[in-house]
Subunit: 148 residues, 2 copies
Amino acid sequence: MDFQQQSKAAIRASGGRITSQRELLIDLLAAHNDEIDAETLHQLASQHDPNINLATVYRTLHTLEAAQVITSHYVSTDHERKVYRINTKQDVFHFTCRRCGRMTTFNSPLVGQIKAALAAELGAVELTLCMCAGGLCAQCQAETAETG
Amino acid sequence: MDFQQQSKAAIRASGGRITSQRELLIDLLAAHNDEIDAETLHQLASQHDPNINLATVYRTLHTLEAAQVITSHYVSTDHERKVYRINTKQDVFHFTCRRCGRMTTFNSPLVGQIKAALAAELGAVELTLCMCAGGLCAQCQAETAETG
DNA sequence: TTAACTGCAAAGCCTTTGCTCGTGA
DNA sequence: TCACGAGCAAAGGCTTTGCAGTTAA
């Protein structure tokens, strides 16, 4: 069962309806291989349905997240913006340079280990982790050294 | 040099002034051994200076963070609220239960390892990490099992 | 003296919510 | 049919900012 089918099944299973807006958003999420924030998704959706509302996008994202077919987290220590992605087993996080703002995706088996440690120590389940790193990237270090 | 002296020196070094408000906030931060959010710090400060404004608290926290004597990060996956703490070498993060909202502090050598991995792989420096975990705590699992 | 700082209030930013009309099942 | 969902606009919650008066150095 692919993402679209899975999403629709989950929505129906909880008594929800498949509206044209939801279907569009699900398709866009499926086609988008990376994380995406609500506003960008809304912009994409607007190209197909100019009347779709940002609130609808947020509500649909919540619905899908509750159905556990997508996950969300924040991407930088500064930017207060949530991104959403199709639920994968992989743990990904981001490094954002304080100076140039460039973002780098990062993933490490250590993240899984942290989850395991949390589960073991606290007995917690359904763990989601939000991780974002900030700092000075290599290039900005060099430029800072030059210009002072 | 203790935290207070260090903070004042850093403020002066950047052309800033030591106002009574800043001095009060620095003292409160020094006395507070844990993380604290802007509003709580403001409440504490109000007991000593009833006129101190929340905006001043935020501005002072930014100043101190820029001076690198304190650090900040979010404590829940919702990024609801930023907390500040005296700059220590220790990496701490938090687990928040999705159901009861209880927060548990957690710290693991793995966090340091992730920083090291980031530094090694990206060549980044001045790393700050925002880490927060969400999930279902042991107690809520039990209660959920009972009530359905 | 005078540039930096404060208090106040208002604005920003992302996200959520109340309301009413529309629509899927 | 009729409860769920959409669109719209306004509100919410934390944080930032413009302004004018205040104060450290």
